[in-house]
Subunit: 652 residues, 2 copies
């Protein structure tokens, strides 16, 4: 089978000849936006053929110039042999790619891509005979009989919403209807969740939802063709009520405030759903399936469950393995009788975002090779293990890399600085802005770049203090009464907001605390099982940094351990990918429950060594430089290079 | 075992020595109001010992005069031998009794009374161990483990409301909680519907609900002790939108109007529930069980289902066998996760009120003795059959006997004239008023009495015309422009409203149409199976006439067939009794489904003989007097008696 490699990520997939590039991308774990559903009309799924054999069936909306430069529509192009495909930066929103490491991701979804869906709620088209005088069979009785005749369930249940639609649907289409229902299991009967006039079995979309403390993301997924139609993300509306889970729990101390938090996150998620539905012309009441991944506190707040005992020792959630619920009882903008699945939590501080994320990794793969999974979200969670054992812990990382807490931080959306380079000779700052316009702030990947570059340029010392003695005009006292210094990344005249984009020493301390929490959690976790970092075969990095993560710079600041780059895989929003897998695949739903039950939870707070490890990691990259041999070598090289007077950027 | 007979109904039960009179009444199918729950403090369950051996444990609130006259509290009196007990008229609200026939009712609820309940949702008290640091078990996991240890379900489900209460309930009582849940079946898992702090297994109340076209009635039932705590009834708020099912269906032709009708009936039912809950100090959210009986249209409107195809040929309901629903989705004032059962319908015009009502009869009892069941509500339904076959039909009777349509008609509540006697010599009218005060109107039993007495006194001719030639001052032209005559039952100065209570010829025509529809439906139905009335071993009469029904007078006007009185049993509100049985007993729930599936529905409208039968029955008692030999004989006797000039009541 031909190998198709996608650049710049380097992810690849073996696919049969004739596969569309869109499906090949799915198989490689890359989410291409295809708003028109692969009809070849919107042009949004365009990619550039770097090399190899691709047959282009339709070029539709491409310009002659684009055609000349080998741009094709991925939905309308077929693989004929090995090929390299360049995915443009504006594509793959919500999907994350590796910049530095030239390494293929592990199997992102079990079995490569999710293929034709196996959602919980499936459709069956059926012809129901019209009623006959004197037989007094109800509509529902005739429907059930017809379903049974077509191999459907024996004695399905139905809720009130289904009965409300039934009479109209049957009569709108001469008895031809499509029934959305769950399959019967050994212990539960089949349940009908929706009836629709006509045969709509060719259409079925579902929702994958990542409820993050800082950011919520929703994917609209075509369950028939098994691909993501589009993804939308936004800050969690609860941010107004606290940046991290503890402050949210503290806020939720009355039933009214708990209800307020529930309303805020529902408003965020439902706005995203509505945006996707309107863009893709989907009626939200036609969505029968959803899968939700979120940390334990976020799930409690989404469901309106009292989260207080998550905060209080012994840190007890109401429920870890939330059973399937109805769209209506959760409050989601979908079929109220539709089914909402939840990724199971391990405990109060290792939630469904982690178990779902693990679905996109090889951690639980049979064998004794040890792998590490880091999720650097608002909390930092670390999982280590192999086919025999799995262990997890949580560190209060703080939402610094998600754009919260840091003053000029922002989510990886239009206007975010996602990459930063400082010319050590001139001091000039070169930035990449998402969307290409004027910058509004800095997202996670930009923060990592900035820290690493500032330090590389000797503008920052290992303790996170800016060095005014270098003479850079970009370093000035921060605004306000504090004695902090601040570094100007973009002057006011060049920013989209009219205010300068700066990073001050308080912001830097927040970033250092986050990276120290993550690194030290990894160290303690490995130590507890008698391993060092070098025992790790593979490191998966998940988190809302943005679209790209520079691994080398992440190591340079001490966020990630100093290991060969080819051992790293950046997963991006793995919670969302995992929720998508649960939405689409029965084996993923089974695996995630198995994963959750296998994980042993380690309470970091009770480990006396943790505080020392954490404090040592508060420096750039670490107080113990021997742990970062590559960085140490680079430092030695840097020491030879002078830092001149010309360090002022030409643009300042 | 001693036999306890209750007067005036004559119903009796064999009960062990030591049984309380309250329980003996239940066993005899008589509902005594016991607001205090049998605590001996409210005094409402007082009865008079007519003869026999009763040991009175406490006399509490009885006066010395009452004690001297052998009044006892039924809750605090024990049976020691055979006894006759007189139930006062103000007791047994909602329960109906036979006045004329000295005959014991059949087994009103399977197995005599409903005994200790077997509701769908049962309670289990359990001690849940408190969480331990480092085990990261959720509250729900610990609960399920504890339940399982106490013989509870293996893998119960739970909805969002249960999770919301769980953390608080566990911590309010050191882990001692009571779990309300359904039992697991072969095809469905156990489902937890409520968690409560402490051990509340000694308390459980449920709701039996009769949704009538004209009147709704609700019983609050003690499921532990198996008796009715109280019953409340009121007109269905939908009456403002049409008197019968067809006009309601016509009204409900837009979704907004359908929603309005749903809201109106829910408002009526929930007001009754609230009234009962407040009287009996029950928290409505603690009600986990409800059973509803209603005709097919009423159930559709209650659930917000489009009823239009019930009206249109071939008369097809959306659902006959409504599955158990949640209190919240139905909209009832109870635990939103609680379970609401529905008595199954046979078809569009033989509904769950009939199948529930049949539970209180011996129609389906094994054997070939044929029995007849008449429900004279807003619609008239007739069921005939035996252990081998059952057949049903519906007649558009109209709500005349329920107090609607007839101008001075009213429900059998305070102020209703429930019995009428006209002195043939003086013309004086003697009335019984419910509650004993001034009359406000006439209920169903009063209407029957009035028709029979007017005709007996020759004030009314067989076609339903009042005879002004008799010279009664009570017969005058009706108000308004019509040429109708009207009969004054109570003059303005004696009525509670200040307006005279009269019956005019239009009212009389409505009553005749109702009785003709019922009688002719019986006749056609029997003819269709080749039987005459004399083949009937037993006739059950159900309907909202009031507390008493005078069978002799009902036969005299041709409402009931002319059979020996001991073949009749008046059931009163059998739909409510049947719903109570479903609420309390597993065998009743099984039987009602079996009954519904066994009944063959006969479409009267397509029978060419029906119209002739109906027209012949529009007279008093019937055009064919030979069908009413007893009445014919009485007529002959009446003919000998003169009707003098002294026919003016002294009170007019």
């Amino acid at each position: 089978m031909p190998v198709v490699t996608f650049l710049p990520s380097g992810r690849s997939a073996n696919v049969p000849v004739g596969t569309s590039l869109l499906d090949a991308a799915v198989a490689a774990g890359i989410t291409l936006s295809a708003p028109c559903g692969g009809e070849g009309v919107c042009g949004e799924c365009r990619v550039q053929v770097a090399s190899g054999a691709v047959q282009c069936v339709a070029r539709g909306c491409l310009s002659p110039g684009e055609v000349a430069q080998n741009w094709v529509l991925s939905c309308s192009s077929r693989v004929t042999g090995d090929a390299s495909i360049l995915v443009p930066a504006e594509q793959a929103v919500g999907a994350a790619q590796i910049v530095t490491a030239g390494k293929q991701a592990g199997s992102p979804l079990p079995g490569h891509g999710f293929g034709a869906g196996e959602p919980v709620v499936v459709k069956q088209a059926v012809k129901v005979p019209m009623p006959v005088l004197g037989q007094s069979q109800s509509d529902f009785e005739r429907l059930v009989r017809a379903l049974r005749g077509d191999g459907g369930p024996e004695d399905p249940r139905a809720g009130i919403e289904v009965f409300r639609d039934l009479a109209g649907a049957l009569r709108a289409s001469d008895g031809n209807v499509t029934v959305s229902m769950t399959a019967a299991t050994e212990t539960a009967p089949s349940e009908i969740v929706r009836i629709e006039a006509g045969d709509t079995t060719g259409q079925a979309v579902g929702l994958a939802i990542d409820v993050g403390t800082t950011t919520c993301a929703v994917s609209l997924v075509d369950l028939i063709r098994g691909h993501v139609l589009g993804t939308a993300a936004d800050y969690n509306g609860q941010l107004a009520r606290g940046a991290d889970v503890i402050s949210r729990i503290n806020f939720a101390r009355t039933p009214e405030r708990l209800a307020e938090l529930r309303g805020l996150v529902l408003e965020t998620i439902n706005r995203l759903i509505d945006r996707l539905c309107s863009h893709h012309a989907v009626v939200r009441e036609h969505i029968d399936n959803a899968a939700v991944a979120g940390n334990t506190t976020m799930i409690h707040l989404l469901l309106g469950l009292n989260p207080d005992f998550i905060r209080l020792e012994p840190y007890t959630p109401t429920v870890n393995r939330t059973p399937p619920l109805r769209g209506g009882e959760v409050g989601l903008a979908m079929n109220p009788a539709g089914v909402v699945l939840f990724a199971p939590s391990v405990g109060s501080y290792v939630g469904g975002d982690i178990t779902a994320g693990l679905l996109t990794t090889a951690l639980a793969r049979p064998g004794d090779e040890v792998r590490l999974f880091l999720d650097i979200g608002t909390n930092g969670e670390v999982v280590v293990g192999n086919g025999e054992w799995l262990m997890a812990c949580a560190a209060s990382a703080g939402p610094a890399f998600e754009g919260s807490v840091v003053r000029c931080g922002m989510r990886a959306s239009e206007g975010a600085i996602e990459r930063v380079r400082i010319d050590v000779t001139t001091g000039e700052v070169i930035i990449n802005v998402i969307g290409g316009g004027r910058p509004r702030g800095i997202c996670g990947s930009g923060m990592i770049d900035l820290l690493a570059e500032l330090w590389q340029a000797k503008l920052l010392d290992p303790a996170g203090k800016l060095n005014p003695l270098v003479g850079s005009e970009r370093i000035r006292p921060a605004e306000g009464a504090s004695r902090n210094m601040a570094y100007t990344v973009v002057p006011a005249r060049d920013s989209a907001t009219g205010e300068a984009i700066t990073l001050d020493e308080r912001d830097i301390q927040n970033l250092l605390r986050t990276k120290a929490a993550v690194y030290s959690a990894c160290g303690i976790m490995l130590k507890s099982v008698g391993l060092g970092f070098d025992a790790i075969r593979e490191v998966y990095v998940a988190g809302g940094f943005g679209r790209f993560l520079d691994l080398e710079k992440s190591i340079r600041i001490g966020l990630l351990p100093d290991l060969p780059l080819d051992r790293f895989t950046y997963l991006g929003n793995s919670a969302l990918s995992g929720a998508t897998a649960m939405l689409c695949r029965a084996d993923a739903r089974e695996n995630v429950v198995g994963l959750a039950s296998r994980i042993t939870y380690l309470e970091l707070n009770v480990d006396p060594a943790y505080m020392g490890e954490y404090t040592a990691a508060l420096f750039l990259p670490h107080t113990d430089l021997d742990r970062f041999p590559t960085v140490k070598a680079a430092l030695a090289a840097r020491a030879d290079r002078p830092m001149g007077e010309s360090n002022v950027s030409s643009s300042l």
